[in-house]
Structure formats: structure tokens, C-alpha cells
Amino acid sequence: MIVPEGKKEMILLTDRAPNFETPLKYFLLDFTPNDVFFVRWHLAGLPSKVDEETFRLEVSGNVKRELSLSLNDLKTKFKSVSVNAVCVCAGNSRSYFNPRVPGAQWKNGAMGNARWTGVPLKDILQEAGAKGSSFDVSFNGMDEPPLPSVPDFVKSLRMADAMNGEGLVAYEMNGEPLPLLNGYPLKLVVPGCYATYWVGMLNEIKVYVDTFKGFWMDKAYLIPKNTTNGNENPDSLSKKMTPINKIDVRSVFVSPENESVIKANTPCTIQGLALDGGSGIEKVELSIDSGKTWNNCVLNPSLGNYSWRRWSYTFIPETRNYSLQVKATNTKGDSQPVHQWNRSGYMHNEIETLFLKAKVE
């Protein structure tokens, strides 16, 4: 555990570059508090503070008017909108892949749900007069490679996706300015997409006539093309790869935590959450007999299709060991695989198992 600057106690992965995971207990809340929201940076060259007065978001490239926007400009000259959206690291739960894969060994805490407030990305691109001939838009933050040979972290979206009205240049998270470690002062919010696109400390947007070329789009964050859940076989890796995109459907156990002891003959409530890439959760089912039969969980009210949705299931345990399983299905009918694997450990959404021991006190 660690107490990062401006945060409460979190699970330490690395402090250079800063990578911290949210303890599971906070997932009993609808919104993940800012001071425990997971932190993921690739590049160690991170500013230790950002001057609100001199900070500018630059918009350039294939536009009619280049923009240099202050925080005040964004807050006063544009429409402000809010969206509830879950932010999930592509590699969340990587440590649960079998066989194991190299990378940041996250458990389930490299995700969080927040209410994001800011300016629609579309409005900023329109203000700049981004031309109709544009194909890609790139996003760069203030984090810097510690060596010139290390590729800068720049991500891109197709112009059509950038203009779809969903993306946000957020200056608030749960009603407060973003913590520095979560990308203060601006974070690109791409509801429904994995967090690799949610560029923090965003200070540069560029519009391109052609395809954007960059290491973090062409070589990193790739998944096997045309497969479900980014699945591939360890013995014959996919040849065709494509940039990771939408969040796949998933449910997670939150409470009680794995290998807990529970009281037999007393109602026990299992709690968890479910999420997907924006279609919305249709149902969550739980099995207490290793997947033979599935029982519907109670869904909490929806907080919007991009938000996660909490669920619960109450049963009276007998005196024995339990291995519970949970699976979610979205409104498109997509559900979760029994087994899943890919070389990079992305998009983990295998059906989870929770081990419990029920005892008479």
C-alpha cells in the first residue's frame, strides 16, 4: 500500500512512473472518490504542478483557426456538459490471465466510475473549424518521455468518432478539479472506450487529413483483429492486430472479498458491479453451482449507459465452501467468456469466480 501525493492509501504498483490501484472496497460506491481513483502513467516525465494561469490547450493542424485555450476560456466560452462514465485501464486485471503475461500486474482496481464535466470535444473541434476533409485527431498531454528516444504518449481517434458528440475535454471529476495524478487540469474523456484514450494533462489536439502515425497507436495497445474479447491462442498468435477500442462487457465481485469467511444459515448479500462499452447492462447472473444454473441478480438503478451498474444477490449459505460465478449481459446480447487470453493482457472479462467459506459461528 502507498499514500501517493494528494491521495489516500492505494495499492502501489510503481512510483516511477506513477501507477496506483484502487482498493476494491471503494467499488461499493457508485462513484469512485477522486482521492483513490486509479493512477496510470507510462512516462516518468510528469510535471509536479501545472500553472492554471499559463496553461493552454492548443488546437492545430487541419483547422481554419488554431486555438490556444485557457482553462477560463474552456469554462466560460463553451457549453458545459457532464457524463457518468467508467474509466477502465486496457490492462485492468492483467494479473489474472493464465498463462501470465508481462506488463503492469493490475488486479481489478485499475478502473473507476466518475461524473466527468467539461466541454464536448466536438464543440472545440468546431470552434477551431476542423475541416471536413480531416481523418484523424491526435491528443497529447504534458507528460514527457524521460529520454528523447522514448516515444511520447500520443493517442488518436478517427475524426468521425471525435465528432460523435460523446467525447469530452473534462476539467472536473466528481464535481472537483482533477487530481494532478489523474490528469489535471484536463483529461480527454472517451465514454465507452478503454482508458488508454483518456489522455491526461491534455494540452495539444491536432487534426490530420490522413492517418495519424505514432508508436502508441501503431505498436502499443493493439488487440487481435476480428476476435471476440481480444482473444487469441498462446500457441498461435494472431497475425492481424488492431488498436484497442470499446470496453467489453464484464461483471466483477466486490463484496465479500475473495476467500472471505461468511456466516452459514444467515442471509449473505453478494455485491458487485457490471459495465460495458455503452450499450447498457441488461442483466447480471450469479451461479452457486459452478455455472450449471444461473440466478438473476438485483440491478441498482442505471446511472447512464457509460456508467458502471452495481448489482447484488442475497442467498442463505449452508455450512460449506462456495465458489460463486458471475456474468453480465449487455443490451446487445454480448456476455462474458469462460476463458480468455491475449499476449498483452488486455480487456480482461473472463467470468469471475469468488471463493467463500460459510461457517456456523
Binding site: L13, D15, G45, P102, A104, Q105, L147
Partner: protein, 107 residues
Amino acid sequence: MKKKKIFFGVALVAFATSCSSPKEEKDFSKSKNETNSINFQSEEGEELFKANCITCHTLQYIDMQPNFTRKTWEKITDKMIKNFGAPIPDSTAKKIVDYLMAIKGKK
């Protein structure tokens, strides 16, 4: 040692272009660096790790990995050099792989 100095010199130039005042050794945590938790089996390996790897990431990145085969550690080291731009000569890379095998090797 000379190479190490050049590393940080270059790094500082890169930082100077940033629009705030970042510090090269900014520590975002209140905890001690956890590299002490590892039982170093190779002093040379540790020195090479410090000289070649921690500019971008601490030994925690290795510490959290499961044990991998030599082939996997070679692939990872190669990726650090070719994809992530770590300026490490082949002869040093081999010694770093030996070190990674010593602390997180799967036989």
C-alpha cells in the same frame, strides 16, 4: 558512469521544454522506494539495472512480475530497446537478462 551522466543530462533537457517545473527525481509517493525488498543476487546486474532502466521505471516493475522464462525476458528486454527506445547495447542487454533471470526467472 559516464553514460549515466549523459542519460540524466539528456533527460533534463527534455524536461526543460515542459511548461511547468518538473523535477527529474520527483517522487509521487511518501513511501521508500521498494527496490530494497529484492534480494539482489547480482551486484553488477543491479548496477546495470540502475544505469539502464530506472530512467523510465523502478525495479518495482520487475518485482511485480511473475517468474518468466529466459525467452520471455529476452523478448521484454528487446521490446524495451526496440520499441521503447532504451539505448542499451547488446552485450549489456544480455547481462540485464541474466539479472532478470536471477531475480524473476522461470527455469
